[in-house]
């Protein structure tokens, strides 16, 4: 057992992936609670697709000789998309869902065409879609540490405001909370989390990291704080378990993490059903 962990952690790329991934999983879980409860889950999904499109754009520009890090092309565009998607969702729930689906599909399509026309549909593109733990460089480690510190601090400082805005935006605004700012803050942090986590988890898989932990926690917890805390713990635990399984059985990392999340979700759903009449947490 000890040997196994020694071997596991002897690879630099695994250590990096574990650090970045755990931090991204933590941030995603915290933000996810608010997104899921506000019926904004689609925003996370939409953003990851936009993320894919913009990353291929970044690679494409590089292939054309423009020397820009794909991340620096992707990040601002995804942030803009986040504000856009937020506006759409706020203004109309039903048409909003459809609009986000359109944006997702379009970003994916544009991304694939750019990739095919520049670098070709190579392993790079595949890695961005489904993730690669080899993608994490030293800079990503620093960036993800900085991000998660910021997310954690903001989340703790504004925890009560975020709760109020999530539970009842009209009341929060009526009593003087600038709900728009907190919605934008959550959207912004989600955008950054997605861009950082996307290359490891995969553009098509990263949104599960936002949605699963919150949903799982809600199966068993009945108040907001326990939901938030359990969601964060579950997210990091599932990530780590997924990485171990991926290493053990040579399965793709991102997909393994999502499958672990799925299994835990099913277990907690069952647990929630069984003790439905149980006490409040």
């Amino acid at each position: 057992m000890l040997d196994f962990f020694q071997e596991f952690f002897s690879y630099t790329f695994i250590v990096r992936a574990v650090i970045v991934g755990s931090l991204v999983a933590l941030c995603a879980a915290l933000l996810g609670v608010s997104l899921v409860l506000k019926r904004f889950s689609m925003i996370g999904d939409g953003l990851s697709h936009v993320g894919f499109g913009t990353i291929t754009l970044g690679i494409g520009l590089n292939a054309l000789g423009l020397n820009l890090a794909p991340l620096s092309v992707s990040l601002p565009l995804v942030i803009i998309a986040a504000f856009l998607l937020l506006r759409i969702s706020e203004n109309s729930k039903i048409k909003g869902d459809a609009a986000i689906a359109l944006i997702s599909g379009s970003s994916l399509a544009i991304g694939v065409i750019i990739a095919a026309k520049t670098t070709g549909m190579n392993t790079d593109v595949c890695n961005y879609m489904f993730g690669s733990i080899l993608a994490m460089k030293k800079d990503d480690v620093y960036l993800s540490i900085a991000l998660s510190v910021v997310v954690l601090i903001l989340f703790i400082l504004f925890y009560h405001k975020i709760f109020a805005v999530t539970f009842d935006e009209a009341f929060a605004r009526a009593t003087g909370t600038k709900a728009g700012i907190y919605n934008m803050l959550v959207a912004l942090l989600t955008a950054v989390t997605i861009v950082i986590g996307m290359r490891m988890m995969g553009a098509l898989l990263i949104s599960s990291l936002i949605i699963f932990p919150a949903l799982t926690a809600m199966r068993v917890c009945k108040s907001f704080r326990p939901v938030t805390i359990l969601s964060a713990i579950l997210s990091v635990t599932c990530f780590f378990t997924g990485m171990l399984l991926s290493f053990l059985y040579s399965t793709p990392a991102g997909a393994s993490v999502v499958v672990v999340n799925l299994i835990v979700f099913c277990l907690f759903s069952l647990l929630g059903k069984i003790r439905k009449s149980g006490a409040t947490i």
Binding site: H160, F163, F167, G176, K222
Partner: protein, 235 residues
């Protein structure tokens, strides 16, 4: 003393007029009931008072109370019905406008939340989950939250929708008591005018344009008033 004055207020959504030239005023300790058909602009009026939406023309003046110190009980949204939050968490969120720059709630806010829970007879529900409560209990929780946010004025938008008659009567009695004993002014949108006629001291009837503003007894003498009350309580 006049708490709130609304003068020739007009509101429109994308150039469709929802309210036109509505004027009324609310004094300290008043109980104003807003009535009107579905879609007549009642919720719009409430949202304008709370500055949740912009107005097209006219003025809303508050006196002796700050904009953020109005206790609001919104029309329930679907999202809330299934929200994982404890009763205490919900009620405490009514203190958000009191805690200033402090990111966390202090002893005073927690004590206030407990006090309001007790006042509304739901102290035992403190640690229960909001989503597991009955409709009537949920409304009481939201009322407690509104009371945490205000000292003088609560605004309620159709608070008894979906409640059974007994629970409705109880909630009306509680609101009347808050109004009578604590002198908290009440603005309430209600479908069921019969239930509030004896509590309210002012009636505002809107149908995009103002139809009536005055005392309940005067309202009952108007033809529209008789129609709204089913003509049973002829004055």
């Amino acid at each position: 003393m006049t708490l709130l004055t609304c003068d020739k207020l007009s509101v429109s959504y994308n150039r469709i007029t929802a309210l036109k030239n509505v004027s009324f005023h609310v004094d300290d300790g008043d109980y104003l009931c807003i009535v009107g058909e579905n879609g007549s602009g009642k919720s719009t009026l409430i949202k304008a008072i709370l500055q949740l939406i912009g107005t097209e023309s006219g003025t809303i003046t508050l006196n002796g109370i700050r904009q953020t110190e109005i206790g609001y009980l919104p029309q329930q949204t679907v999202v809330q019905k299934d929200f994982p939050a404890s009763v205490f968490e919900v009620v405490l969120s009514g203190c958000l406008n009191r805690k200033g720059r402090n990111p966390f709630y202090g002893k005073a806010e927690k004590a206030l939340a407990l006090e309001k829970l007790a006042e509304l007879g739901i102290a035992t529900l403190k640690n229960k989950s909001y989503r597991d409560l009955s409709g009537g209990q949920q409304q009481r929780v939201l009322l407690a939250r509104a009371l945490c946010a205000t000292r003088k004025l609560i605004v309620l938008d159709e608070p008894v929708t979906g409640l059974d008659p007994l629970v409705t009567t109880e909630l009306y009695a509680t609101i009347k008591e808050l109004n009578g004993k604590q002198g908290i002014a009440v603005i309430m949108v209600s479908h069921d005018i019969q239930g509030v006629l004896e509590s309210a001291n002012k009636i505002l009837h809107v149908n995009v344009e103002p139809v009536f503003f005055g005392s309940p007894s005067d309202y009952l003498n108007t033809s529209v008033g008789q129609r709204m009350t089913g003509g049973t309580t002829h004055a």
